[in-house]
Amino acid sequence: MTSSDLNWDVIVIGGGHNGLVAAAALAKSGRKVLLLEAGNEVGGAARTEEFAPGFRVSAVAHLLNRLHPDVVKTLELERHGLKVERGDFVPSVALSKDGPLVLHGAYGEVLTGASPSEQSAWKELRAQLLRYAGVLKPFLSRRPPDPGNMSLAGMTGLGQTALALKKLGKEDMRDFLRVLLMNVYDLLDEQLSDDRLKGLLAFDATLGSHLGPRSPTSLLGLYHRLAGEVGGLSGAQMQPKGGMGAVVAAIRAAAEEAGVSVRQASPVAKVIVEKGRAVGVVTQNGETLRARTVVSAINPAAGPREVDTGFVRKVKNIRMKGDAAKLHLALDRPPQFIGVDAADHKGRLVIAPSPDHVERAFNPSKYGEFSPEPVMEITLPSFVDPSLAPSGACVLSAVVQYAPYALKEGWAAGKPQFLEAIMKQLEIHAPGIGATVRHAELLTPADIEARYRMPGGHWHHGELQADQMLMSRPVSGWSGYDTPLEGLFLAGAGSHPGGGISGAPGLNAARRIIAMRA
């Protein structure tokens, strides 16, 4: 070993937003922290990147809807440049041939474009969804309960949840338990009648996962979404100025102020393990760096030799094949989506005209085929921040489903056809858009895997379904950010509570490490 001195208290592997959050929180606790990022830039899937000359876009995640308030507070992100104002919240627009339907404010505080009866049904359902998501919300900011080894804090946490349940009242509590593992399709049918609204909700519940609206437990995805908040409002969403990279820049600034040393272009070759304890890392250029604690803020699958077979088995069985693609279009001029007014073009435009449409889009992906009529969530970031595109031009960013990681025909052959299918859908809702495309970049899960070092190219670093949540995330028995290796912790989205730009896994991991005095 070249340098055997104990140089650092903590080495964080991976400069995605969770790695940065963990590093910052640990540095604030007085630890000497080094963060190693494999890429030339930190931010991971939350970078803002130029994809065509003069056109910049949020690389993977393009909407901020769940940055955890504890992260904002602990890292004082507002002081470091994060701006969240009520006026920044953008609506969700359900596109349809029958004219759009718009959810204004925080996830449809006001609904326009629907019948009066649907509006009141929505008001009731929205309140119920937020109430139920609220029960689950406290789980986001702490370690998952460990049924085998319950700590006092864990008991207290569960006790609070029980109390929150009780506070719902008898009827609501029963209903909460009834619907918890239900599929979103049937729940929507119980309460709503407008296909556009149901389609939007069905899309949101399944976004980023390998589930259709009719798949059991698909409702959980909607709760997960609504458990997130921005600016203190559950379900709110915004397009950050400067793209997601601006959020990362604020987190990075907080980390650096706290004393974190950030090293880019420093991929880690391996974690050094001595007698069952992680004691440092070796970088790909051969440098040995030692630390008391190593935090892996990358995908959980790494290093089978130093852990037990049963653990490897569990890790091997984590489902993490992505099913969502990302489309970036450089457009000569802003598109006009039919029936959508100028202000709503700043919002999230969703093509998911009905729950059946979403379900039919999902069906082929089960058999390794992409959706011939894909569903998608579109943003036009240059409407919010004109600096992202050349003057007069426009950036379009879309998350498109379903795009199975292991496409049967292979993505080399399938990608042009999939792009064609997407463009056909866009053309329906924004006629003439195709002719204005200057450049198109389509990132399939395979591309996302390669570019952002996310195995499977999965949106959430592993399916976010009931069996891979809470105490089963990333694997049962090891859900509390610890690993079988002493001194090695996990802090990425592969850990509870999962993906999205929340910073919660990173912050929870840092809290765990601080509590353990590791």
Binding site: V273, K275, G276, G303, P304, R305, E306, V307, D308, T309, G310, F311, V312, R313, K316, P484, E486
Partner: protein
């Protein structure tokens, strides 16, 4: 039950494809010879194979081990061929003992655990070359071994059917091998192995066994099994070679103080009740654990159990007064408090003592070793006579035979 009738073979292809039920127990490659000697027709199921408890007389079979040469068919033992550049590192991670210290041409007794540190099985590991091993075990473990291979350049294949095995044990065993023409076998020290020519193929002979006596184990391709059997039988005729069954071997192994998986402890994958699982330290295999070697399955759990004093059981050797075997007797402290169970017991003809293996709940057998008793139910003409006998913890093995390790091996 012990009757094997032949049913007229059907020509129907579908029936033929499903004819496995006509042979509920497989035969080993030695079966024609064993069947011919199996006067007792006393068979048991050893990992799906038809194996003899006793062939002709269990007393005399036992004395063949101790006074002559005994031939025991170990073909049903599960065997894995593990090969590749990472084979050593792989086995070092899977099994407890330090495989980097096992030289090519050597054998060691080892065990392996799950993530929680509970013993999955014990067995012997043969290092046939720097990159090739044979792992022999009681239970089947292929899924576990294959999942353990993730991240290693190694192949794992079961070779139980392809390789036939024989144990040749007893004072004249060396002389039998020498007279059979295995030149150089005298150079094998205990736990050595070497390859010898046999019938156009190769037989691997190791100086190992399960009897605590001078003895060898021979592994040969299945199609050379019968010729090997005949070669040994011919060479050993004047040295009293006899085929034996498991009952005799079981006595010998108990005298040698050796444990049997799923007899003296329940293997982790078979245990249904949570408190039946055992860590190596709880079944006398603590000596295998080397915290200084690289990572191995169960390491974290085992070291934690040691540090936090969470070990709950201990396996001990007992010497019991009297001469009635205490098989499956309850062990008491001060004649009243139940503290354990005897898993195997015999009157030892060699030690001339009443011996047993027992599993006790700590601190009994560990910190508290006095005032232990066993309650033996001796059936006397349809009436139990309950005997409360004093038991003393004694070291294992119960017998130690110099001829087992003598070099060169003695010519009896």
């Amino acid at each position: 039950m012990n009757h094997h009738s032949t049913i007229e073979p059907s020509t129907d292809a579908r029936t033929l494809a499903q004819s496995h039920f006509r042979t509920p127990r497989l035969g080993t490659p030695f079966q024609p010879r064993i069947d011919a000697l199996g006067l007792q027709q006393d068979w048991y199921n050893w990992a799906g194979y038809r194996a003899p408890h006793s062939l002709w007389d269990e007393e005399l079979e036992y004395f063949a081990i101790r006074s002559q040469a005994a031939l025991f068919d170990i073909s049903p033992m599960t065997k894995y061929r593990i090969e590749g550049p990472d084979a050593e590192a792989y086995l070092d991670r899977v099994t407890l003992r330090d495989v980097t210290k096992l030289r090519p041409g050597r054998v060691h007794y080892t065990a392996w655990c799950d993530d929680e540190g509970f013993v999955l099985d014990d067995g012997t590991l043969f290092r046939l070359s720097p990159t090739r091993f044979r792992l022999c075990s009681q239970e089947r473990h292929l899924p576990w071994l294959l999942d353990s291979a993730i991240g290693y350049e190694v192949s794992v294949e079961e070779e139980t059917e392809a390789v036939a095995g024989l144990a040749l044990q007893g004072p004249t065993s060396f002389a039998v091998l020498r007279d059979a023409g295995f030149a150089g076998v005298e150079r094998l020290r205990v736990f050595d192995l070497a390859e010898f020519a046999h019938d156009g193929a190769t037989v691997t002979i190791s100086r190992t066994g399960f009897t605590g006596d001078l003895g060898y184990e021979l592994f040969v391709p299945a199609d050379k099994a019968l010729s090997l059997w005949d070669r040994l039988m011919a060479a050993g005729e004047l040295r009293g070679i006899r085929a034996i069954g498991y009952t005799a071997l079981n006595r010998a192994r108990l005298e040698a103080g050796l444990i049997v998986a799923n007899a003296d402890f329940t293997t982790a994958e078979h245990a249904i009740r949570a408190d039946r699982l055992r860590m190596p330290d709880e079944i006398g295999l603590g000596f295998m654990i080397d915290p200084e070697k690289g990572h191995f399955n169960g390491r974290r759990a085992i070291l934690e159990a040691r540090a936090k004093k969470k070990l709950r059981h201990v396996l001990v050797g007992l010497e019991i007064e009297g001469n009635i075997p205490a098989e499956h007797a309850i062990v008491y402290y001060k004649k009243s408090q139940e503290v354990g169970l005897v898993s195997a017991a015999i009157w030892s003809p060699m030690a001339k003592r009443n011996i047993a293996l027992a599993s006790l709940q700590r601190p009994y057998g560990d910190a508290i070793v006095d005032d232990l008793w066993v309650e033996i139910y001796a059936m006397r003409e349809l009436q139990y006579q309950k005997l409360m006998k004093k038991a003393k913890i004694v070291p294992r093995p119960f017998i130690k035979l110099d001829r087992r390790t003598a070099n060169p091996p003695a010519d009896f």
